[in-house]
Amino acid sequence: MVMGELSQETHVAVIGGGPGGYAAAFRAADLGLDVTLVEEEPRCGGTCLLRGCIPSKALLQTAEIIWDAAEAARRGVRFPTPELDLAKLRAWKDGIIDTLASGLDRLAKKRNVQIVRARAVFENAHTLRLEGSELTHLTFRHAVVAVGSEPLSLPGVSLKPGGRIMDSTGALAVHDIPARLLVVGGGYIGLELGCAYAVFGSRVTLVHRAERILGGVDDDLVRPLVKRIGGLFESVRLETDVEALWEDADGVTAVLRGPSETLEERFDRVLIAVGRAPRSRGLGLEALGVATDEAGFIRVDDRRRTSVPHIYAVGDVAGHPMLAHKAMREGKVAAEAIAGMPSAYDVQAVPAVVYTDPQIAWAGLTETEARRKNMAVKIARFPWGASGRALTMDAADGLTKILFDPESGRILGMGIVGRGAETMIAEGVLALEMGASAEDVALTVHAHPTLSETEGEAAEVFLGSATHLYVPQGAQGKTTPP
């Protein structure tokens, strides 16, 4: 250290103020530790709040209103064609982000968590060098690396801020509603944003490398969404690669190589949503010997310790699934481990939600995974066509399915497609965490009429007798593999 530099000591240094980082910082502070959180950006909240989960949900909720208004004609309610005031939509959306971000600052202040706005680089195993703040060094006893992930681009394609070729960050800024939008990537980000833009009025073309969208998600859960985007998008092209993209003054030319032909097409904007990569580089972790895997994820143990035991890593940078709720739990585990508690990241299931319309949510074992592992499971399905509540919501194409251990009836996984799946999956996750059985769920009274009933009835299907679905004798719960 050089004279004149400003240095400070802290017990716990948290690097990154996203869900993993702030959960770790807050929990550590609640446990009585002295915590300093270093965040590069002016606001806390990370990708989730600033350019991910929250803004995308603001857009999707808006799209749902527009969609429902049009669909209401079926039940005899006619609205005039909605007009979209983009400036107002942006302001409303940004207002939500401001509210939540300043809320995080207040929560930090109340807990005496000091937030330093700076970029942090490990100078040695107990010192961070801070760039962009008056404070130049922060020494710590424990560090939590929660620097998250960033969108991947296509090879050779670089994104300019405000350009026509965008990543999810650009798309969520909603500069305009392009007449023709190319979405590259059929994962949940491309699908969610593609759906929102399509409802807002874009003619959307989705290209996806693989032969089906949402790889790894069970077929029967994806099918209603495939049907929906078939009508909503102008075109869905599977097994298609983007060969080249040229941006010019009034559009983007894309060369799309499909299984049978290669086409050159013009779009007004392009959204690249081909995945995310951990941001483990450039932090000085390599020099400390913090081990990472081939994909760049920091390797951690069940307490979220890295190979340097007083340095922890949580959230996207510490491995899949890259989900805020997983990061938050990891952050709490790391904080508790630092405080000397015997905590471990031992969750049985991390729920995943795709916020398209219909929504898809799943937790625990999937049918796809059960097949791959050749596990004997029984699967009970309750189609929403048999749910009164679903019919009033025009959601008859929904499905609730539960995977059971054939011997004990223990719940191994749950999958839902349909509106409200985001909330319903919670019952499945709780059941998984509790080690609940089919009977536990079937004997739990579910309010009528609600979509949650479909979960109770799916458990009844497994047991051989469901009120609103006839189960032929001996046909309860399909066993897989056959």
């Binding site: 010997g289 081990a291 951690v300 143990d301 310790r305 190979s307 340097v308 015997p342 965490e433 059985s437």
Partner: protein
């Protein structure tokens, strides 16, 4: 390439063993041949050496676990792997859970998140807790009970129900255990009436094997025990004389090798006692060799190392071999080979006293000879009218045999012949 090392076939039809100790941790460097774990099988305790040189990436087992042949034990990353070079060499606390799903074969233990947290707090391995909930669900109370049991210091379980309030115990234990973890026993002052919770000690390893085999033998074999007393005065004089001539007290002869030699001689005359009943084929298999098991009281419990081909070894040789085997038995270093193949068993409880006892046959053998503590006893010889009283050294012996294979008269003849050989060392000499 990381290599998974699985429990190898240990031979002798051994399919499972209990991990006694894990000698390495993830992150440790190991060289080929270096012991990784100690596994206790039905027959012996064996060190499992590493077949590779490298760095331990994951240890899949922990002490107390029962593993089967083919189960993964440790994953070793071979030395000089480029992908792992970024990891620093001295990582004492290398991540243990870096490959989450792979290690977890089968379902995780059904227990609520709060129960799992409690288990971590109390240092209880959920996989080793006996579940009380439906479908094998482990409850918070199960975890507290397990923690309590683990805390209680190891001591032999009280025999004969000495704890007075038995009825209370049952109710307290099975019905509604106290919600708070009860204090450790040491915290209970003496004299305070305690409804002491009975302790449950898992039947593991040697104890489990002994239990199974004894019950098996007792259930299958109709035992007959034939008792007698053998005058070993002359033999004892001979033994003492021989030992006086041996300077090294470690090489002094005990009675056992003489007994072994005598037994072998009698077995040659009565082959049905050196036999096995093949129940399936309804045949008696008469053994062609004389492998004499000798029961040894080891810290782990009863073990029976076998003196192979005892008929072809001298008394001194047998004594030396027995010393080595006993030593290994006491230190838990017997190989599976050391304890297998016996055709007849000798159990000499003499050192501990006792006048008579009824040993259990080491099934599927046909017979076992027990010896008690030799005592000086008054012996009357002569007729009703003319007799003399002498003091002789009498060894109580008992022959337990399978009445399906041999009859009581055979047993009596066997013991009579044994007496002849032991009572007169010259007879023993000519029978060698």
């Amino acid at each position: 390439m990381a290599k998974i090392f699985r429990l190898p076939d240990l031979g002798e039809g051994i399919h499972e063993g209990e991990i006694v100790e894990v000698l390495v941790r993830s992150g440790d460097s190991v060289t080929e041949g270096q012991p990784l774990l100690i596994v206790e099988t039905d027959k012996a305790t064996v060190e499992i050496p590493s077949p590779f040189t490298g760095v331990v990436q994951t240890v899949h087992v922990e002490a107390g676990e029962v593993v089967h042949v083919g189960d993964p034990l440790v994953t070793v990353r071979e030395a000089g792997e480029p992908a792992e070079e970024s990891a620093p060499a001295p990582t004492p606390a290398a991540p243990t859970g870096v490959e989450p799903a792979e290690a977890a074969e089968g379902l995780p233990v059904a227990a609520s998140p709060a129960t799992r947290r409690l288990a971590r707090e109390l240092g209880v391995d959920l996989r080793r807790v006996r579940p009380s909930g439906p479908g094998g669900r482990v409850t918070a109370d199960d975890v507290r009970r397990a923690a309590q049991a683990a805390k209680t210091p190891e001591r032999p379980e009280a025999i004969g129900g000495v704890a007075p309030p038995e009825a209370h115990e049952t109710l307290e234990e099975e019905g509604s255990p106290p919600p708070e973890a009860p204090p450790a026993p040491s915290a209970v002052p003496a004299g305070v009436p305690v409804f002491a919770a009975e302790r449950r000690v898992p039947l593991r390893s040697f104890r489990r094997v002994i239990a199974r085999r004894m019950a098996d033998a007792w259930a299958r074999v109709p035992h007959v025990s034939h008792h007698d007393g053998v005058d070993i005065s002359e033999l004892e004089r001979l033994r003492q004389e021989l030992n006086r001539e041996t300077a090294d007290p470690a090489r002094h002869l005990s009675l056992t090798p003489f007994l072994v030699k005598a037994v072998v001689a009698v077995l040659k005359e009565f082959p049905a006692f050196n036999a096995r009943l093949d129940e399936a084929r309804q045949e008696i298999i008469l053994k062609a060799h004389y492998h004499i098991g000798v029961a040894v009281d080891s810290p782990r419990g009863l073990v029976v190392p076998v003196l192979k081909n005892a008929d072809r070894k001298s008394i001194t040789e047998l004594a030396a071999e027995l010393r080595a085997l006993s030593q290994r038995a006491r230190s838990g270093e017997l190989n599976p080979d050391d304890v297998s193949g016996g055709t007849f068993t000798l159990t000499n409880i003499g050192a501990l006293g006792g006048r008579g006892f009824t040993p259990i046959i080491n099934y599927p053998q046909t017979a076992i000879l027990g010896a008690g503590k030799a005592r000086l006893e008054p012996v009357v010889t002569g007729t009703l009218d003319e007799h003399t009283l002498t003091v002789r050294l009498i060894l109580p012996v008992v022959l337990a045999f399978d009445h399906r294979v041999v009859d009581g008269a055979d047993g009596a003849r066997f013991v009579n012949r044994l007496k002849t050989l032991l009572e007169d060392p010259k007879m023993l000499l000519v029978s060698l």
